[in-house]
Structure formats: C-alpha cells, structure tokens
Amino acid sequence: MIIAVIALAVGVVMGVLVDINVPVGLQPYLPIAVVAALDALFGGVRAHLDGAFDDKQFTISFISNVLVAGLIVYLGDQLGVGAQLSTGVVVVLGIRIFSNAAAIRRRLFSA
C-alpha cells in the first residue's frame, strides 16, 4: 500500500515536472482515460482492503478499461455520437468509482 502511494506520487511528480505534450488527436480521450484510471485506482484499493488484490488482474483491467473506454469514444466520434458515448462511459465509470469508494469507506470506518 505504501509502495503504491509512493508510486502514485512519483507518477504525479513526473507528470508535473516533465513537459509532456498530448497530441491533439488524443486530447478528447484524456478525460476518459483519467476517469478510467481513477476507476482502476479505487478498484485496486478496494480489492486490496478486501484482501483480493491481484497484480495481473489490476494491470490487465486498467489497460483494457482505458482501451475499451477510448475505443467506445472513438467509435462514437466516428458515428457522430461521441459526446453521448463519452457521457455514457463517464457515467458507468463514475458509478463504479462511487460504489468502490463507498466500499472502501465501509471497510475503513465500518460505516
């Protein structure tokens, strides 16, 4: 857990210090990727607290979530419903984030 927090901090510091330019074509997918990343993060914390954390599952689910979310939005863009599908992805991932956060809260505070 401590290692994970340190790793997260390292990533954030790297992102702030290193000037990474996101290509214009990828910029619409950034918010989706962020929500998917947050989802993976909360899911991982919950699994860890449940004692069910699995490295392989965490890695694969993060990558596949980001890819699938990006693919859905890309497909939506091609079909002309990109904004709606983005909303759909954000809603689904948002619900997951909320319920994972609720599970974490229940476990940590028994409330």
Binding site: A4, R46, F62
Partner: protein, 265 residues
C-alpha cells in the same frame, strides 16, 4: 443478491452496477495466485502511469486555460484595432469628399449653381441636412419567458419599412434610422437576427428621425401605422414613442456605388 431488490432485470441495471461494480471480486481461495516480484513491479508501473495521467490531465486543463483566454484577448484586440482603423479611414474619406466637393463648388463658379447642387444633394440624401421634424422610437417587446416560444414582440425589417414609408408619405424630406441616412436606394433588411440599414447593423430601440413639414410628429401619431404599433404595444409589448424635435441634424448617406455606370476618363 441485490438484483432481486428492484424486480425486473432490465430495471436493476444501475443497481447491479452499484452492488457489483468490481473486476476485483475475490477469486476462490484455491485459485489465489501468490504475488510475484514481476507482478508487483507491473502494479507499481501501472500506478506510476496512473499518476502520470492524472498530472498530465491536470496540466492540460490548467495550462490550456490561459492560452484560450489569450487567444480570445488577441481576437478582441484585433477587432478593436480594425474598428479604429475603420474609423480613421472613414474620417479620411469624409475629409477627402469634403475637399472634392469644395473643389467642385469652386469649379462650378456661379453661386446659384452651387446652391442648386447642394439642394439636390440634400434631397438625394448625400448631404447632411438640418431642420425640425419628428422622432419615432420603436423598441422590441420583452423576451418571452420560455425560450422555445417565438418572440412575437420582435421588430422586423418590414416594421421599419412601414414606419419609414409612412413618414415619407406624410411629407418627410430626410429620414435616418439610428444615424443612418436613407436615400432612394437604401436597403432596410433583416440578416439573421439583426436589421441592416445599408449594411450597417441597427438594433432595438430603433430611433427613426425625420425632417419634414410642421406637425409631422402629430400626423404620424395619428396615422394608421402608429395605431397599428400601439395595438402591437398592447398585444406584444412593443414600445412606440413619437415626439416632435427641433433643429436635428441628419448626416449624409454614403454615395451609392456605381453598378451600371463607369467613370469616363
């Protein structure tokens, strides 16, 4: 199982999301894999990437704001600068036109001819004129509360046509809408949501000033057109005021562009 709480399976999609959101459901104990070094490294790498992603997204959204604001500001400055240029050029044109007119007057020689020319110009709308007359101000009614409804209290170009034509009919000799002098070939037309008087946009409240015979304001106030607009006022909230004005100055209209004639060299 929470799915049964809401009854129909199609209804409890959200409930299912809420209660079973995880990919991380605990696998059966016998299938639990022991954690390996490479697995841990993989997890750490993913978490670093997640942190990176969050930071990059934060940078994108925070850093792009000043750029957007700057682009907006630049555009605004450009517009202001162009407008200033335009004004300078318009002034210059006017000065040149005055010069040309003065030279022409000089060449014409006879005082009578010059006066006749000035009178003709004034009648045609190409010379600023002064006199007594009427000021008609007409303004849009209040916007409807629901944005979907059509705005019945909106003044259209044809409303201005009606007022202007009534003033002409009552003997007005010169008319200007919002400072735009009307000539025989001036257009008053709608372009989208705005009304253009010879390509210059005018907006509510529309101020129509006319120079004409004594009693023009009273005549207009008693006209069928004014009655119509008063009815509009009761029905749709359009405001119409008519008052007599003394010693108003109406500017000259810009000379019409030549369509069919070409200058002889």
């Amino acid at each position: 199982m929470a799915g049964t709480r809401f009854g129909l399976p199609s209804v409890d999609l959200l409930a299912q999301f809420w209660n079973q959101p995880l990919d991380y459901e605990a696998p059966p104990p016998d299938r639990r894999r022991p954690r390996t070094i490479s697995g841990r490294l993989l997890t750490v790498a993913v978490i670093v990437v997640i942190g990176l992603l969050l930071a990059v997204a934060w940078r994108e959204s925070v850093l792009s704001q000043p750029a957007d604001a700057k682009a907006r500001e630049d555009l605004r400055d450009d517009i202001a600068a162009q407008r200033e240029d335009n004004e300078v050029l318009t002034d210059f044109t006017e000065r040149l036109r005055d010069d040309v007119n003065a030279m022409r007057d000089e060449l014409l020689g006879s005082q009578a001819a010059v006066e006749q020319l000035h009178r003709d110009e004034a009648a045609a709308g190409l010379r600023a004129v002064t006199g007594d007359g009427a000021k008609v101000v007409v303004a849009n009614g209040p916007e409807p509360d629901n944005t979907t409804g059509s705005h019945l209290g909106e003044i259209f170009d044809r409303d201005l046509h009606l007022i202007v034509n009534t003033l002409w009919a009552l003997g007005a000799e010169a008319i200007a809408i919002d400072g735009q002098r009307l000539t025989a070939v001036t257009t008053i037309r709608a372009a989208g949501k705005v009304i253009l008087v010879d390509f210059a946009p005018v907006s509510s409240p529309y101020e129509i000033v006319a120079i004409g015979p004594p009693g023009l304001a009273d005549d207009f106030g008693a006209s069928a057109t004014a009655e119509t607009f008063r009815q509009y006022g009761t029905d749709y909230g359009i405001a119409l005021t008519v008052e007599a004005v003394d010693d108003v100055v109406l500017p000259a209209a810009s000379p019409p562009s030549l369509n069919d004639a070409t200058p002889k060299d």
